[in-house]
C-alpha cells in the first residue's frame, strides 16, 4: 500500500506537492468537511433530502481530483460531492440537487462532471465511453470514475474494466474502499485479497494507496492520469479509506459495526495528518484554522440559501426536459398537470 504521509504527519517518502499547494489542498479538505457536516445538519432539519456523508474520505476525493485538468471528465456517485466540487461543480447546484430539484444535475459548461450516479456500478462504463470518445476525437482529455468497494460486485464493473483494458482507454478507475457497502463489510463483498489486484485480470496496472493520505492519493492519481493522457491505458486505484458516518442519513451503522472500528479510523483522520505536517512547517495556526472554517461555513450557507431561493421547478420542471420538443401526448398531459396545480 502506497503511503507518503503517516497518520502522525511524518513523511516516509518525498512529498509530491509543494507547501503552497499542500496549504491549498488542506483548505479544500477543511471545506469538504464543513460541507459534509452541514449537509447532514440540513437533512436533519428537513431542508435537504437523504444525504450520503463522506466524512473520512476527504483526502481520497480532494487528492485525486487535484490531479485532474479542469476539463477532464469526472463520473462519480452520490458520495463524491467533494471531488465534484474540486472539479468546479457549482456549490449551489450540489445543494439544489439535494433540495429535490433536477437543475442540480446540470453543471454549466465547460465543467465535464456528470450528475452523480445513484445506481451503484452503472456509471463506470460511461467513463470508459467518455475517455474513448475523447481519444477518437483527437483529444487527450481523460476520464476518472469514482466508485465504492460494493460497486465492484456489479456486473458492470467487469464490463467497464474489460472494455477499458481491451481498448486501452484513458480512464482512471478510482475505488474508494471505505470498508462498507451499507451493512456489508468489504470481506463479504469479494473474496479477493485486495480490490487493486482485480486489475491484473483486465491487463491494467492496479495500485493500493492509503486513501486517507493526501500525498499518496495525489501521487498515484497523477501517475494514472498521466498514463491515461499519454494514451498508455487505464489504471485501477484502490484507496483504502473509511466512511466514518452512516451510509446515508437514513442508516443506523450501530446495527452492523462497532464504535471501536470507527474510533480506530478516527485516529487515521485524513485532515489531521496534513494539519500536523503544515504546522511543523509553520504553515498552520489556530487562528488560520478558525478563519478558513468560518469562510467555508459562510460559503456553504450562501450556496444553500441560493439553492433554496430557486423558484419551484413546477410543471415545467417535470415536462420540459423530457424531449427536445414536447410530443403532442405530453403537451396534452402538461396542460392537464397545469390545470390540476
Amino acid at each position: 500500500m502506497l503511503q507518503i504521509l503517516t497518520p502522525s504527519g511524518d513523511l516516509v517518502a518525498e512529498a509530491p506537492l509543494d507547501l503552497d499547494m499542500t496549504t491549498r489542498l488542506y483548505r479544500a479538505l477543511v471545506f469538504a468537511r464543513a460541507y459534509d457536516r452541514k449537509s447532514t445538519a440540513l437533512q436533519k432539519q428537513g431542508r435537504l433530502a437523504t444525504y450520503a456523508p463522506f466524512e473520512g474520505q476527504e483526502a481520497a476525493q480532494v487528492g485525486s481530483a487535484a490531479a485532474l485538468n479542469p476539463d477532464d471528465w469526472l463520473v462519480g456517485t452520490y458520495r463524491d460531492a467533494a471531488a465534484m466540487w474540486m472539479q468546479g461543480y457549482p456549490l449551489d447546484l450540489l445543494f439544489a440537487g439535494r433540495t429535490g430539484d433536477e437543475r442540480g444535475g446540470s453543471p454549466p459548461e465547460p465543467i465535464n462532471v456528470m450528475p452523480p450516479s445513484i445506481t451503484v456500478g452503472g456509471h463506470m462504463v460511461h467513463a470508459v465511453g467518455l475517455a474513448w470518445a475523447e481519444r477518437l476525437q483527437g483529444s487527450d482529455r481523460v476520464a476518472i470514475t469514482y466508485f465504492g468497494d460494493g460497486a465492484t460486485s456489479e456486473g458492470d464493473f467487469h464490463e467497464a474494466m474489460n472494455f477499458a483494458g481491451v481498448f486501452d482507454v484513458g480512464c482512471v478507475f478510482f475505488c474508494q474502499n471505505n470498508g462498507w457497502a451499507i451493512s456489508m463489510p468489504r470481506e463479504s463483498q469479494t473474496a479477493s485479497e485486495t480490490i487493486a489486484q482485480k486489475a491484473i485480470a483486465y491487463g491494467m496496472p492496479g495500485i493500493q494507496v492509503d486513501g486517507n493520505d493526501l500525498f499518496a492519493v495525489f501521487s498515484a492519481t497523477r501517475d494514472a492520469v498521466l498514463r491515461a493522457r499519454l494514451g498508455e491505458g487505464p489504471t485501477l486505484i484502490e484507496a483504502m479509506t473509511y466512511r466514518l458516518g452512516p451510509h446515508t442519513t437514513a442508516d443506523d451503522p450501530s446495527r452492523y459495526r462497532t464504535e471501536d472500528e470507527s474510533a480506530e479510523w478516527r485516529r487515521k483522520d485524513p485532515l489531521e495528518r496534513v494539519r500536523i505536517y503544515l504546522s511543523e512547517r509553520d504553515r498552520w495556526s489556530e487562528e488560520w484554522q478558525a478563519e478558513i472554517e468560518a469562510q467555508a461555513s459562510a460559503e456553504v450557507e450562501e450556496a444553500v440559501a441560493a439553492a433554496e431561493a430557486l423558484d419551484p421547478p413546477g410543471v415545467a420542471g417535470v415536462f420540459d426536459a423530457m424531449f427536445a420538443d414536447l410530443p403532442p401526448i405530453l403537451a396534452e398531459q402538461r396542460r392537464m398537470a397545469e390545470e390540476a396545480e
Binding site: G100, I118, G150, S183, D251, F319
Partner: protein, 325 residues
C-alpha cells in the same frame, strides 16, 4: 390477531414461511445484518441464521440468477431488490431465464421464487428510488405480479407467492409500509393470487386502483360518497393474473369507471384494464373510462412530486367528467 403495519405484516409472513417451510431462503442486499433498508427482514437473520437469510454482494443480476439456480435446484428463494429502480440490472435474468424456464423445459424445470420489490414514490426519495414499473413485469410472460395495499393482504399474498409453483413478482408500495395498519392473524394464512378485492360496494361509479394509489382511491371515494355518489372501490391486488371477472361485474353494475395508477400513462397497466372493460362492458358503459395516472415523464425529485402523483383532487375531477358524461 394484532394490529400491524404493512411492513410488520410482511416481516411476520416471512418469519412464518421460514419457520414452516424448510426450503425457503431469503436473499438480497443488506437483508441480514441490518434487516433490509426498509427493515422488512428485521430479526430474521438472528432467528434463522446466515444459510437461510443471506446477505449478498451488491449485484442484482447475481441475486436473480443465483436465486434462479437455487429455485431450479429445489429451494424457494425469496429475493429482495432494494428498490424497483435497482431491479433493472436483473432484467436479463428475470425475463430470459426466470420467466421462461418452465416453458422451455416443458415443465421439467421450474423456478418457484419470489422477487420482492419495494416500489413507488411520494417519499421525496433520490432518483431511481420512486419507480412504478409494474407494467414491464406484467408484460413479461411467465411472471405473476401482485401488489398488496393493506397489511392483511401483504401477509397473505406473500405467503401465496412463496407457495406458488411459479415465479411471482411481489410489489411493495413504499409509501404504505408504515402508514397503514390493520388487524392481522398471528398465524400464517394465504390470500389467493388472481382475485381482486371489492373494498366498498357502490352502484354509481367504480374506482379501480392498486398499491399506494389505493390510499387516494379510498379518500376520493369517501369524498364522493359524502356528495351522494355511491362509489365502488376495487383493489386489483393481482395484476397478473388479472381478475377480469370482478372488474367486469363491477363496471357492468356501475356503468362508470376510473382507473388510477402511479405509473406513467402510456402503456401503463391501466390501459390493459380499460381495454378489458371496453371489450366486455361496452354496452353497460354510461361514460368513457377515465385514467388518472402519473405522467409520461421521469418521476420528479422532491420539490415536484406533487405535480406527478395522482391526487385525490385529480381523481375527483375525473369522477366529475365521468359522472357528467
Amino acid at each position: 390477531m394484532s394490529v400491524v403495519t404493512l411492513a410488520q405484516a410482511l416481516n411476520r409472513s416471512l418469519e412464518h414461511a421460514l419457520a414452516e417451510m424448510d426450503d425457503v431462503v431469503v436473499m438480497g442486499e443488506d437483508v441480514g445484518r441490518t434487516g433490509g433498508v426498509f427493515r422488512i427482514t428485521d430479526g430474521l437473520a438472528d432467528k434463522f441464521g446466515p444459510d437461510r437469510v443471506i446477505d449478498t454482494p451488491v449485484a442484482e443480476s447475481g441475486i436473480a440468477g443465483v436465486g434462479f439456480g437455487m429455485a431450479v435446484g429445489g429451494l424457494r428463494p425469496v429475493l429482495e431488490m432494494q428498490f424497483m429502480g435497482f431491479s433493472y440490472p436483473a432484467f436479463d435474468q428475470i425475463i430470459n431465464h426466470v420467466a421462461r424456464i418452465r416453458h422451455r423445459s416443458r415443465h421439467r424445470f421450474t423456478a418457484p421464487l419470489v422477487i420482492r420489490i419495494p416500489y413507488g414514490g411520494g417519499i421525496g426519495a433520490a432518483e431511481h428510488h420512486s419507480e412504478s414499473a409494474e407494467a414491464i413485469y406484467c408484460h413479461t410472460p411467465g411472471l405473476k405480479v401482485v401488489v398488496p395495499s393493506r397489511p392483511g393482504d401483504a401477509a397473505g399474498l406473500l405467503r401465496s407467492a412463496i407457495e406458488d409453483p411459479d415465479p411471482v413478482v411481489f410489489l411493495e408500495p413504499i409509501r404504505l409500509y408504515r402508514s397503514v395498519k390493520e388487524d392481522v392473524p398471528d398465524t400464517s394464512f394465504t390470500t389467493p393470487i388472481g382475485a381482486a378485492s371489492v373494498e366498498r360496494e357502490g352502484s354509481d361509479l367504480t374506482i379501480i386502483a392498486w398499491g399506494a394509489m389505493m390510499k387516494e382511491a379510498r379518500e376520493a371515494a369517501a369524498a364522493l360518497v359524502e356528495q351522494g355518489v355511491d362509489t365502488e372501490v376495487l383493489d386489483v391486488r393481482s395484476l397478473v393474473p388479472l381478475d377480469v371477472e370482478s372488474l367486469v361485474a363491477s363496471v357492468q353494475k356501475t356503468g362508470r369507471a376510473i382507473v388510477v395508477h402511479e405509473a406513467p400513462r402510456t402503456v401503463g397497466f391501466g390501459a390493459e384494464i380499460v381495454a378489458q372493460i371496453q371489450q366486455r362492458c361496452l354496452y353497460h358503459l354510461q361514460a368513457p373510462v377515465e385514467r388518472v395516472t402519473g405522467w409520461d415523464t421521469i418521476f420528479p425529485l422532491k420539490r415536484s412530486e406533487h405535480v406527478y402523483l395522482p391526487s385525490v383532487e385529480r381523481i375527483l375531477a375525473a369522477a366529475n367528467t365521468v359522472l357528467s358524461a
